[in-house]
């Protein structure tokens, strides 16, 4: 019988080694697999809120309109009515948050207008375009056009 026990011991040791390995794996896995993994799919559910928890730079059209009726009114009379304030003035969420503290720098029309209106064959033919050197000969665009209502 002593011989039988010796053989059984091998099996028990083996079982203990496997159990210890499995235990170590589970503990390690529990420690490194983050909470929420697999809840919604093969990813960490909390990553969705991480992607949401970020500040915005563009306040959005509706916010500008809250305070700037005058410009909204001017713009509504011309074709720039479809162009959002921040398309020309850039991201202004921080200005909208605290207008006293952060005053926007006004755009440089020499760059601004040409980016949209410089003549190019790749632009859709129905879009109003000018070859700026012929059109204004270097004069500032806003010397003649009102940026908010550009029709003359």
């Amino acid at each position: 019988m002593a011989g039988g026990w010796r053989h059984a011991r091998h099996l028990i040791v083996l079982a203990l080694v496997v159990a210890a390995g499995l235990g170590a794996f589970l503990i390690l896995r529990g420690a490194v697999v983050p909470a929420g993994f697999g809840k919604l799919g093969h990813y960490r559910a909390g990553a969705i809120d991480d992607n949401r928890r970020r500040p915005v730079s563009f306040a959005g059209q509706a916010t500008c309109a809250d305070c700037h009726d005058k410009q909204v009114e001017a713009r509504s009379k011309g074709k720039h009515r479809i162009v959002s304030c921040e398309a020309c003035h850039g991201p202004q969420a921080r200005h909208a948050d605290d207008p006293e503290k952060l005053k926007p720098v006004l755009p440089d029309t020499a760059i601004l207008c040409r980016r949209c209106h410089e003549k190019d064959p790749a632009k859709p033919a129905h879009f109003p375009q000018v070859a700026s050197t012929d059109h204004s000969g270097g004069a500032a665009c806003n010397a003649c056009h009102q940026p908010h209502a550009p029709k003359m």
Binding site: I48, C116, P124
Partner: protein, 249 residues
């Protein structure tokens, strides 16, 4: 390759030891837990529509994306391409995108060829190859159909970059994790549109909610000739192009 050998080996070791890799830092919050506005993902299914006939190549979308998302210089989550197609040579268009068009385009010299602009971004595919190849579940499709990245969990292994048929991913040069268009998930989940759509002067790009029966996307898809990029890849792209020329890849 800007990831050090050590980082690469460390990543590989984690992967081997743990079966699937995980970053111990995954639970560290990004910022003070701000109050997030109420939002029900089950009510939305996001995508985008792009009308080539309205795009003027001004680059507003590229600049807006860069400012909104802190995209590092020389990298792009969205960009604009200018195509020139010689008469009858549909298979060899000339494509240019100087600095992603972040400063727009210089006027082109060729005037006799077919020419047009094509804005590009992540297609937020429904059966996305990038999600399928990620070994650790760090890139995934959210319940409302946006392909997002878990930066705390990404190894930087670049499988997804190779898998994306549209070239929409890059390794962030400082974080060394993958980065891509999130469809401004932080904006669209609080009722704002994406930064690129906010800044687009002509309405060429529009955020679309395919689950909202009142969204103009349904009329757009029904009434126009609409195409997705590389339909043969069967990625079920949700970026829909109107008036897209056949020469576009």
């Amino acid at each position: 390759m800007d990831v050090s050998r050590r980082e690469m080996l460390a990543g590989a070791a984690k992967f081997l030891v743990l079966g699937f890799a995980a970053e111990a830092a995954a639970d560290v919050p990004l910022a003070a837990p701000a109050q997030l506005p109420a939002y029900d993902p089950s009510q939305h299914w996001w995508g985008m529509t792009i009308d080539i006939d309205l795009c003027i190549g001004c680059g507003n979308c590229v600049r807006a994306c860069s400012a909104e998302n802190g995209v590092p210089d020389g990298y792009f989550r969205t960009w604009v391409e200018r195509y020139h197609v010689k008469s009858g040579d549909q298979e060899h268009p000339k494509v240019e995108s100087p600095d992603g068009a972040i400063k727009g385009f210089p006027p082109s010299t060729e005037t006799n060829e077919k020419a047009f602009y094509v804005p590009k971004l992540c297609n937020h595919c429904e059966t996305s190859p990038c999600v399928q190849v990620c070994p650790v579940g760090a890139t995934f499709e959210s319940p409302d159909g946006v392909v997002l990245v878990d930066t705390t969990y990404c190894l930087g292994c670049r499988y997804c970059i190779q898998a994306c048929p549209y070239g929409c991913r890059y390794i962030h040069p400082e974080r060394h994790t993958v980065d891509k268009c999130s469809l401004c998930y932080h904006r669209i989940t609080q009722g704002l549109t994406t930064a690129c759509c906010e800044a687009c002067p002509t309405g060429a790009r529009k955020l679309a909610d395919l689950k909202n029966p009142k969204d103009p996307v349904h009329a757009f898809l029904r009434d126009n000739k609409v195409q997705v990029l590389k339909p043969h890849m069967a990625t079920r792209s949700k970026t829909f192009y109107k008036d897209l020329d056949g020469s576009v890849r």
